[in-house]
Assembly symmetry: C2
Homo-oligomer: 307 residues x 2
């Protein structure tokens, strides 16, 4: 048994008018509720509203949503409280680098309050120009560039941890690259509109189904725990779904939030529960046949077979 006690710290909506300080105060409140846990996981873009729903013709106007240092003055209390409580943490934020690049980023912080891992979202959904045909904008491709750090895994809390962010979860490549590093727990945050902007017939039930399906398959097929945390509820008039979940290495949902507000979900996760799958049906060394996987890493889009 290598039990770690994990807290999934779901956030309700953060309005456009809300300050970083207000968001951090809510995160601190959840951290205090998580006293005694080993790890607390917050959502994607945890410090602000989901700003990619807004269009600015001059994209530098969006820079106000980005952090140019981490910790910053506003987020330092989180690091200090995490260190005091000896709890590791992960949260997402918009990152602006010193040389002016923009990423949708998450970090992994150890129990000493030290950043030990950084991930930059690889699979940016949406579009980069204003699209009048959509029911709402989703301009991640406008405000971020795709992550340049790959999908690293890190030793932490006696286990192997990986991160991804939101739309990354729909891509089996995400989980497989982590799985090939022996990942035992994948943590991620998400902001997922409850209606498909390009198909109003795809509502909350189907969106929730796709969300869980992707996470559960990623967990099962790599025999890893998955902790997925929502920012949800009605943000600036736009509804995002909840569905924060903790999933075991068998792909089963073992805990799920019940509200669309700030809510803490706590579960004891035995990292040794990942072993059976990794040693049997998903013993990659024995079963994978990389000689037939070449297209996956060589070819980006579809090439139809010859008639």
């Amino acid at each position: 048994m290598r039990n770690i006690k994990v807290a999934a710290a779901q956030l309700g909506p953060i309005q456009r008018a809300d300050t970083r300080q207000a968001a951090v105060a809510r995160m601190l409140d959840l951290m205090r509720q998580a006293e005694g846990c080993d790890l607390i996981v917050y959502p994607e873009l945890a410090l602000t509203t989901f700003f990619p729903r807004w269009y600015w013709e001059d994209r530098t106007e969006a820079d106000i949503w980005f952090e140019s240092e981490m910790p910053s003055a506003a987020t330092r209390p989180l690091f200090e409280e995490a260190k005091r409580a000896a709890i590791a943490m992960s949260f997402g934020y918009a990152e602006r680098t010193p040389d002016g690049r923009h990423f949708n980023t998450s970090i992994l912080v150890d129990k000493e309050g030290v950043i030990v891992g950084k991930y930059r979202k690889v699979h940016l959904p949406g579009h980069d120009q204003f699209d009048p045909k959509r029911s709402h904008q989703h301009l991640e491709k406008r405000y971020f560039e795709p992550g340049d750090l790959g999908f690293p895994a890190w030793p932490l809390l006696g286990g192997v941890f990986g991160m991804c962010i939101c739309n990354d979860r729909r891509w089996p490549e995400t989980f497989r690259v982590l799985g090939l590093q022996g990942v035992e727990m994948v943590v991620l945050g998400f902001n997922t509109p409850s209606v498909n902007a390009q198909n109003s017939g795809e509502g909350p039930a189907k969106r929730m189904f796709h969300h869980k399906l992707s996470l559960q398959a990623g967990a099962y097929q790599n025999s890893t725990w998955v902790v997925a945390v929502a920012k949800c509820g009605v943000e600036d008039g736009h509804h995002c779904m909840a569905g924060s979940v903790i999933i075991n290495p068998d792909g089963e949902v073992v805990a799920e939030t019940t509200t669309e507000n700030d809510e803490l979900l706590v579960h004891d996760c035995d990292l040794d529960a990942t072993r059976f799958g990794k040693e049997t049906v998903f013993d990659f060394a024995r079963h994978r046949r990389i000689e037939h996987y070449g297209l996956i890493a060589m070819q980006t889009g579809v090439v139809l077979p010859k008639a």
Copy 2:
């Protein structure tokens, strides 16, 4: 609309004492029930019992379960009836090549009765030596070599078709390589023991969950139809699960068998239903980032991150 009418032709058990002719007679009966369909899909190893559950020290003794030609005398009536009924078909069998190689194979046959595609199972589960610790043997790695044809896709019936076999469905690489060829329908057969041979606590409910989870994720994440067909029931004292299903490109089960016997499942599948997913969330050309997928095709087993 590009509707094709598909029949999933589940087979109940085939006992060790049963002849090829008896199996083919049952397959012909199902084909007659499928009159008017465009395609009929039979299970893996449709002509015989699931012989890899038996151990022969001299592996050539297993050669009696293999076909050295296709069509053979025993299977020719299937091809003739398919041509008469103008129905395409797919079924699995154990293949012995003229140079003595052994594969777990399936074929795709057009409405003229011509073999237009062949697939050889890539992901062989189980083991190659007798294992006294298991509740039952699963010696696919003893009697077959891994497929050498990759995961091809073929134009057929106005769409793009792919095949895989049983355990292949648990590997997202299978569906992704097909997805990168624009696959619109993946057909497969399976023989899945309803208890895990290495963990008696993993019974039918969890096995069925993993089965559907893998298929549904493969369908959704590649926006393709999936037709999965069981050989099931109690075969030579060993129980295999049913759960033949047809899954739409949204990952939803739209049809499922209700027995563990010979049973035909018919569904009208609109291949154009694959388009929305392929053009939006799973528009690979726009969203995939192959620069971060290298490990998938370069590294077979797990390499842990450095501490």
